[in-house]
C-alpha cells in the first residue's frame, strides 16, 4: 500500500491506473515464499540495560559457567562470562543460587491453533479435507488469546513454531512466534523467520483419508501422494523460473498458493518439518527429498530415530522428539527415553519438543529425563550440551539460529532466570526476558496478566 499511496499523491488518473497495475503486480510477485505477506508487526519495547550477576549460566553453546554474569543491552546479549564487570547504569539482578539459560524454544507446538478451552469453535489446526493443503498457513488459525501462551511463557518458552496438524501429507505452512502477549498474530511473528512446511508420514494421513474411502489409504499411497505433489511443484517452479529468466515477458504464470509453498521448499526457502515416527519411513522420506532435490530440515516425533542416528547425522536432519511419549500407536511403540541423546551422541541435531500444552511448560524436565537416562546407559552428556536440545538446536531446525538459541553476544536477548537447575522438577522460571524486555516475573503480577479470554472468568484470583 505504501507505494500505491505515494503514486497517488503525485500522479493523475492515467498514471494512477498504471501504478496500481504495477504495484499489484509487484506485490503479487513479492508475496510469495519470501515471507513478505502478513509481515511481522512485533517491535520490542525499549528496555534499560541489565546485568544478571552470580548465576550458573548454560550458554546454549555447550558451556556451563558457574558464578557468571550476563550483560544485556539494546535488546541483545552483550557479554557473558565469569568475572565480568557490571557497567554503570545497568539494572543489576541477583542471580546467586539461580540458573540462566537462553529462552526455551519449542520446535513443535499447536498453541493458538488448538487453544484452550478446546472447542470446535477455534480448534483450527487440521484442514483435514484433502491430503495436500500446502496452501494453508498456520498463522491464519492462531488465536493469540490462547491462555496457553502465557503458561508457556511461565515455563520459560520465548520462541515457538506453530505447526498445522498431521492429518494431511502436506499440512500447510508453520509460523514461528515470539511468545509475547499480542492482540494479533502478526504482533507475535518472529521477524523474517523462514516458513516451515508441515508434512506427515505414516498412520495419520492414511487413516484420515482411508476412512473417507480415498487415497492415501496405505503408506504406499502416502508416498505416491508426496511424489505427485513434488512433480507438480517442480513443474510450477520451472515455469516460474523460466518466466523470470526470460525478462518476465508476458503474463506471469498464475500464482498457486499450494504449489508456491512447495516450490519454496525446492528453492530452499521453506524448511520441511516432517512428522514421521518410524525409521524405515524416515529413510523413504530422505530418498524422496533426494529424488526431487530438496532437503528435510527436521523429523518430528521420530520415536525410532535412534535406529538410524548415523544416517540422520550424515544428512544433517534434526530430530525433534520426546523422552516419555510412546505407545499411543503402532508407529510409536518403539519409543525410548534416550532418542535425543543417541542422536546427539551420533553427532546429530537433537531436539526435545512438546507438541503439548502441558509439556511445553516444562521442557527442561523432559530434557532432564532424557539426559539422565542416557547417562545411566553409559553415554556422557553434560548439562551444557543437553540444554541445546531446547535452545540452540530447535533454533537451527527453525532457521533462526543466527538470532536466538544461545547467549552469544549479538543474539536477541531471550533469556530465562531459573530458581534452580532447569532440568529439575523444582525449577521455576523466576523471570523471562524477550529481546531484553521483561515478559514474565513470578514475583510481579504486572507480568502475569491473563489473556483476554480468562480476564474476569472464575478462578483467576490466584496466579497459576
Amino acid at each position: 500500500m505504501g507505494s500505491v499511496s505515494k503514486f497517488l499523491r503525485g500522479s493523475g488518473m492515467r498514471v494512477l491506473a498504471a501504478a496500481l497495475s504495477l504495484a499489484s503486480g509487484v506485490a503479487a510477485e513479492q508475496n510469495d515464499a519470501r515471507g513478505e505477506a502478513f509481515p511481522s508487526t512485533y517491535r520490542p519495547a525499549a528496555a534499560p540495560p541489565l546485568a544478571i550477576v552470580g548465576a550458573t549460566i548454560l550458554t546454549g553453546t555447550g558451556v556451563e559457567i558457574p558464578d557468571a554474569t550476563l550483560l544485556i543491552s539494546n535488546g541483545v546479549i552483550e557479554a557473558v562470562g565469569a568475572e565480568l564487570a557490571v557497567p554503570e547504569g545497568y539494572v543489576r539482578i541477583d542471580g546467586r543460587g539461580k540458573w540462566v539459560t537462553p529462552g526455551i524454544i519449542d520446535a513443535h507446538s499447536h498453541l493458538g491453533v488448538y487453544p484452550s478451552p478446546a472447542t470446535p469453535s477455534h480448534e483450527d489446526g487440521n484442514e483435514a479435507v484433502a491430503p495436500n493443503t500446502a496452501d494453508v498457513w498456520a498463522e491464519h488459525s492462531v488465536w493469540p488469546q490462547d491462555p496457553k501462551f502465557r503458561l508457556a511463557r511461565a515455563g520459560g518458552v520465548t520462541t515457538l513454531m506453530i505447526l498445522p496438524g498431521s492429518a494431511n501429507l502436506f499440512g500447510g505452512r508453520s509460523v514461528t512466534l515470539k511468545n509475547v502477549p499480542a492482540v494479533t498474530t502478526q504482533g507475535m511473528k518472529f521477524p523474517h523467520a523462514p516458513y516451515g512446511l508441515k508434512m506427515a508420514c505414516g498412520e495419520n494421513p492414511k487413516r484420515v483419508y482411508g476412512s473417507k474411502g480415498r487415497s492415501p489409504a496405505t503408506r504406499m499411497g502416502n508416498v505416491a501422494g508426496y511424489r505427485k505433489a513434488w512433480i507438480d511443484a517442480a513443474d510450477y517452479a520451472r515455469k516460474r523460473d523460466k518466466w523470470e529468466k526470460t525478462g518476465k515477458a508476458g503474463d506471469p504464470p498464475k500464482r498457486d498458493l499450494q504449489l508456491e509453498t512447495l516450490a519454496g521448499v525446492l528453492k530452499g526457502e521453506i524448511l520441511v518439518q516432517n512428522h514421521c515416527y518410524r525409521a524405515d519411513e524416515m529413510a523413504v522420506m530422505i530418498d524422496i527429498a533426494r529424488e526431487f532435490g530438496f532437503s528435510i530440515r527436521t523429523f518430528h516425533h521420530a520415536n525410532e530415530a535412534f535406529k538410524i542416528a548415523p544416517l540422520l547425522a550424515k544428512e544433517d536432519i534434526c530430530v525433534a522428539t520426546w523422552a516419555n511419549s510412546w505407545g499411543a500407536k503402532m508407529e510409536s511403540l518403539d519409543g525410548i527415553e534416550e532418542t535425543a541423546p543417541m542422536i546427539h551422541a551420533a553427532g546429530g541435531c537433537a531436539i526435545i519438543h512438546s507438541d503439548d500444552g502441558l509439556l511445553i511448560q516444562r521442557l527442561g524436565q523432559e530434557t532432564g529425563v532424557a539426559m539422565t537416562a542416557a547417562n545411566h546407559a553409559g553415554l556422557s552428556i553434560s548439562r551444557g550440551e543437553a540444554i541445546k536440545w531446547i535452545t540452540a538446536n530447535p533454533a537451527k531446525a527453525m532457521g533462526i539460529a543466527d538470532r536466538v538459541g544461545t547467549l552469544e553476544p549479538g543474539k536477541m536477548a531471550d533469556v530465562v532466570l531459573w530458581s534452580g537447575n532447569p532440568f529439575s522438577v523444582y525449577a521455576l522460571a523466576d523471570r523471562v526476558w524477550i529481546d531484553g524486555v521483561p515478559m514474565w516475573d513470578r514475583a510481579d503480577p504486572r507480568y502475569q496478566a491473563p489473556s483476554d479470554f480468562l480476564l474476569g472468568q472464575p478462578g483467576q484470583d490466584f496466579a497459576r
Binding site: P117, K329, L358, G368, G378
Partner: protein, 421 residues
C-alpha cells in the same frame, strides 16, 4: 556398562521371592508410618518380608547387602487412574481391555477380569518405582456417549505374575459434570436426576431380588448385571469415583453423597481448590493430576498448579495421578509429584499422595503404601531424590519379589547403542 551388568545380574534373581536375606543399608527411609522418616537406616528383607527396619538394625550374617548410601527408600508408588494391565497400544482396540461400549454392561464391567500380567508396559512403570496401579475403566464412546458408568476399578500389582489383582472391584467409576451431562442428554440437571433414579432402581432391585428373578420387577433403565454391580455403591460399601472439575459440580456431588449416603472419591477436581473447605468437611479424598493447569474446558477455567497444595492445606486427602487412564507415560507420576512440591505441596505430603494415601483410599493399606516390619517388601531404593528425573531406581521389590531393572525400551536402546562408547 556398569548399569547393564547390574541389570544382567539382577535377572538372575528376577521374579522369585527368594529364600534369601537382603539388607539395604545406609539409606534414607521414608516409612510413611508413625515411624516417619529415618535419616539413615537399614531394611532387612528375609524371604520377601521386611524382617527389620530402623536406624539401629544389624545386618544379619550372610545377607546380600545393597548399599543405599546417598539414596532413599520409599514404599512402591501407586498409580491411580491408570489402565496398566489393560492396554498395550492405545490406538489398537484389540490390544486394549480398558473400556466397553456394550449397552448392557456399564457398571457391571469388571476390569479385574482379563488383565494381562505379561504386558510390556508393566516393567516400564516399575522403572518409575510404581509397584501397584488402580486400573480404572475408561468410557468407550465409539457408539455414542450413552453409558452412565464406566465400570469397576481394580488395584493390581506390577510383579507380572498370574494373580496380579490386589483388590478387585475396588471402586465404581462415574463421570459427572459436563461429561456426565453429555451422557444424560446434554444437561447437568439431567445427569443428576439420572443418577438419583439409578440409585433408586438399584435399591428397589436389591430389596426385591426374588421378584426380579421371577421377572416381576418394575422396568429398569439398567441391566440386571449393572444393577447388581451397583448394590454395594448404593449401600455405601463400594467407593464411587466421580469425575468432576467445576467447583459447582463438586458442591453438587458433596450434597448428593450426603443425601444418598454414598462413599465418594472425587477425581479430577481441577477447581477443587475453590471449594477445598467443603471437600475437607465432607471428608472426600481427591484424585488429581498435579500438572493439570490448562483451562481446557469451561469446567476447568480455574485449573491451577497449586490445586494439590491448597487442597492438602485445607486438610483434604489427596492422591496424585498422571493424566487420565495413564499407561505408557506412568513414568511421569513421580515427576508430577515433584512439580506439586515446586508449587507448594510439602514434600512428605507429595510422597504420601502416591503411596499411603491411595493405599488407604482403595483399601490395600495393609499390604502396600508404607514400610513396616512383617509386611511383604514393597519398596524402591532410589539413587537420589525419588521425585527428580535426575534420579533412578536401584532396586525394586513388588510385594516381596525383587524385580530386574529392565524393560523392553531398554532392550531396544541397548540393541542400537553404539558399542564403542
Amino acid at each position: 556398562m556398569t548399569c547393564r551388568l547390574l541389570a544382567l545380574a539382577a535377572l538372575a534373581f528376577a521374579t522369585s521371592a527368594s529364600a534369601e536375606t537382603i539388607a539395604i543399608v545406609d539409606a534414607r527411609l521414608m516409612t510413611m508410618t508413625a515411624a516417619g522418616e529415618i535419616e539413615r537406616g537399614t531394611i532387612v528383607i528375609r524371604d520377601g518380608r521386611i524382617a527389620a527396619i530402623g536406624a539401629d538394625v544389624a545386618v544379619p550374617a550372610g545377607a546380600r547387602v545393597i548399599d543405599g548410601r546417598g539414596g532413599t527408600v520409599t514404599p512402591g508408588f501407586i498409580q491411580a487412574d491408570s489402565t496398566l494391565g489393560a492396554v498395550e497400544v492405545s490406538q489398537v482396540p484389540t490390544s486394549a481391555d480398558r473400556a466397553t461400549h456394550s449397552a448392557a454392561i456399564s457398571a457391571g464391567f469388571d476390569i479385574s477380569l482379563g488383565l494381562n500380567p505379561d504386558s510390556i508396559l508393566l516393567p516400564v512403570a516399575r522403572l518409575a518405582g510404581i509397584t501397584h496401579a488402580v486400573t480404572t475403566p475408561l468410557y468407550d464412546d465409539r457408539g455414542g456417549r450413552d453409558l452412565q458408568f464406566a465400570g469397576q476399578a481394580a488395584v493390581i500389582d506390577l510383579a507380572q505374575r498370574p494373580d496380579m489383582v490386589t483388590r478387585p472391584r475396588a471402586a465404581m467409576v462415574l463421570e459427572m459434570g459436563e461429561g456426565g451431562a453429555e451422557r444424560a442428554g446434554g444437561a447437568r440437571g439431567s445427569a443428576i436426576v439420572a443418577l438419583r433414579a439409578t440409585l433408586a432402581d438399584v435399591r428397589h432391585f436389591a430389596a426385591n431380588r426374588v421378584a426380579y428373578d421371577r421377572g416381576e420387577g418394575r422396568p429398569q433403565r439398567l441391566s440386571h448385571v449393572d444393577l447388581e454391580a451397583l448394590i454395594p455403591v448404593a449401600e455405601g460399601r463400594m467407593p464411587l469415583i466421580v469425575k468432576v472439575d467445576r467447583a459447582s459440580d463438586i458442591r453438587e456431588m458433596i450434597a448428593l453423597a450426603r443425601e444418598e449416603k454414598l462413599h465418594l472419591i472425587l477425581d479430577g477436581a481441577e477447581e477443587g481448590w475453590r471449594v477445598a473447605n467443603d471437600i475437607a468437611a465432607a471428608q472426600l479424598p481427591v484424585i488429581l493430576d498435579p500438572l493439570a493447569d490448562l483451562p481446557r474446558s469451561f469446567s476447568e477455567l480455574g485449573a491451577s498448579m497449586e490445586n494439590a497444595a491448597r487442597l492438602h492445606a485445607a486438610g483434604v486427602t489427596i492422591i496424585l495421578k498422571t493424566g487420565s487412564g495413564v499407561a505408557h507415560r506412568a513414568r511421569e507420576l513421580r515427576y508430577g509429584a515433584g512439580n506439586a512440591v515446586a508449587w507448594g505441596l510439602p514434600y512428605g505430603a507429595a510422597v504420601a499422595a502416591i503411596t499411603v494415601n491411595p493405599a488407604r483410599v482403595f483399601g490395600v493399606a495393609d499390604r502396600v503404601g508404607s514400610l513396616e516390619r512383617g509386611r511383604a517388601a514393597d519398596l524402591v531404593l532410589w539413587n537420589g531424590d525419588p521425585l527428580e528425573p535426575l534420579s533412578q531406581p536401584q532396586a525394586v521389590f513388588v510385594e516381596g519379589l525383587e524385580k530386574a531393572l529392565t524393560a523392553r525400551p531398554l532392550e531396544l536402546r541397548d540393541r542400537y547403542l553404539p558399542s564403542a562408547r
